[in-house]
Symmetry: C2
Subunit: 336 residues, 2 copies
């Protein structure tokens, strides 16, 4: 059945059934003009929003409706994670062409709720509309934090720069999906990188854990790529950042894909973007304990990749010989 | 200058400058991943979101960038107003084609902040992106309410149905803008209806005032048209609503446009939509005092147009002789 046959109110009723209700803190959810919500007393309110557009952020050729829903939620979860906050409530606006199959819309919400559910996030409102061309999704995620949020501007001179997990998989996955042919690599390798691109996992537990430790200062999630995102920390903190390229935890799967497709694995890791790992700075003296303890608490690896110092705000990448290397730029919209 | 020359970060810096910072309750605004905000202690959090898409919700032929910004904010303000809440923080996502003039983007934010400023709403975050075709805007508005919000489901048997202001102007304005030629009517009449369509004013003060009065029960804003929106109150309250068509406060300007363009003024008022007046139900015994007092407090007229009773949920429109009349349906996306 096409969306145009179901009609807008039919679609909203269907979404309401899919989503359910009665989540903690939700006095009024989907179905009224406005959601009525309750935060934990004394907590700060966190709010972030992301627009995801077919033909710009994804192609229907490689991303199914459930992938689109999952990722639209995950990118917002990652933004809340980067502050060290707890995600709580989501508002989701979806526009799709009238001839869209209702089952595709169902799958979209399935993917969205599958990404949200492990974090206890309730879908509390949104908007639906026809689209003149392609899918358009906007997710706004509301969360809370009781202590001090970690900001891009929080880095301090003498801090080390660290990253959770591994890098380069999402960009490798995108390269595979865009290649048009499956490279001659083991299935699990291809699955891993494609999944990293289509179904990224936000580091929510890790962000919350890190934000409870005073030694952790500046933080951001890796959405636009290490070069760009560390650049934000450097600029907003008005400090210089240096990264030792040999230290980067480039994923073995990303290296394999890079080799098969003739790409530079370091470029995938530094400018590829969308790994949604956490990039943070912390006191050098605490680094080993923080890395070990975070691993015990959440299972996430931590790798120290560089350091922060006084100096002209910006990022310098150094090769094995300590020479500055130009790694290009991360993803930017509107670059001419 | 085109947006693609300025680049994404250049655009964000420019928006940041346009918007300013330091609003009450904003600990972190535009520029980090996530806004960090503070509500009034003990207040409920209100959240609403609306997607506004070129070719679906407006045409660039008739709406300038400042109009688009204004209206994207106003429709959300109206949703918060319909609850009786206080709007506080906005997140704005904008996608536009790379060849968009930066001045158009400036005007968009000017229109947006012009609509927001009278209500003390701070722009605290958002997203920018390229668009494959046309402008795409999503505004999420956060607000708060300390008492009980007014809901669609709040109507009670015996209530009267009332509306603020006048009806039909927005639909008349749209008809003029779409007609391609200016009807032979006085300039002020045309200006009034076009302004009602392009620069609607949300009834924020009126909604807050009404929500402080226990006699006011159900409430919604007129976005999809009286027939549809009163239908929501009837359905969600599981009650029957009756409206006397002769009582409708159809705007004289809308009547004049209807006559000039061969339209039915009652249809403009019942199904035209986007008047953004408040539609509410209240105890019959309190109606006169509420109407007079709201007028004194805010200047807004109140007209009683019908009543609520036990019965099959739905809306019946009655003509001067008390006969049921079919007035058609309000705006619905995806109607086949």
């Amino acid at each position: 059945m096409k969306v145009e046959r179901l009609g807008e109110w039919g679609l909203i009723r269907r979404i309401r059934r899919t989503i359910g209700s009665g989540a903690p803190g939700v006095r009024v959810g989907i179905g009224d003009d406005t959601a009525v919500l309750q935060l934990t007393a004394g907590a700060w309110l966190l709010a972030t929003t992301d627009l995801v557009i077919e033909g710009i952020h994804f192609r229907r050729r490689s991303a199914g409706p459930a992938d689109i829903g999952w990722k639209a939620m995950a990118v917002n979860l990652s933004d809340i994670a980067a502050m060290g906050g707890t995600p709580r409530f989501a508002l989701v606006a979806l526009a799709c062409p009238e001839e869209t199959e209702v089952e595709d819309v169902d799958q979209f919400y399935d993917g969205l709720t599958a990404a949200a559910a492990p974090h206890g996030v309730a879908l509390v409102g949104g908007d639906t509309s026809a689209s003149p061309a392609g899918w358009i999704v906007n997710v706004t995620l509301l969360g809370e934090i009781e202590g001090a949020p970690r900001l891009r501007s929080g880095a301090r001179p003498g801090d080390v720069v660290a990253v959770t997990g591994v890098l380069g998989r999402s960009a490798a996955g995108l390269a595979v999906l865009e290649a048009g042919r499956r490279p001659d690599l083991p299935g699990p390798v291809l699955d891993e990188v494609e999944r990293a691109h289509l179904r990224p996992a936000a580091r929510v537990a890790e962000g919350k854990w890190l934000a409870t430790h005073d030694a952790v200062h500046g933080m951001i999630d890796l959405s636009d790529g290490l070069a760009t995102d560390l650049g934000h920390i450097a600029t907003e903190s008005a400090l210089a950042a240096r990264v030792a390229l040999p230290r980067l935890p480039v994923a073995p799967s990303a290296r394999a894909v890079a080799q098969a497709l003739g790409l530079d694995p370091v470029e995938l890791a530094t400018t590829g973007g969308e790994d949604f790992e956490l990039l943070f700075t912390m006191e050098r003296s605490a680094a080993e304990v923080i890395a070990t303890s975070l691993g015990s608490a959440t299972g996430a690896a931590v790798t120290v990749i560089g350091e922060i110092s006084d100096g002209a705000p910006g990022v310098t990448f150094l090769d094995a010989e300590g020479r500055a290397v130009d790694v290009g730029h991360g993803y930017e919209h509107f670059h001419g």
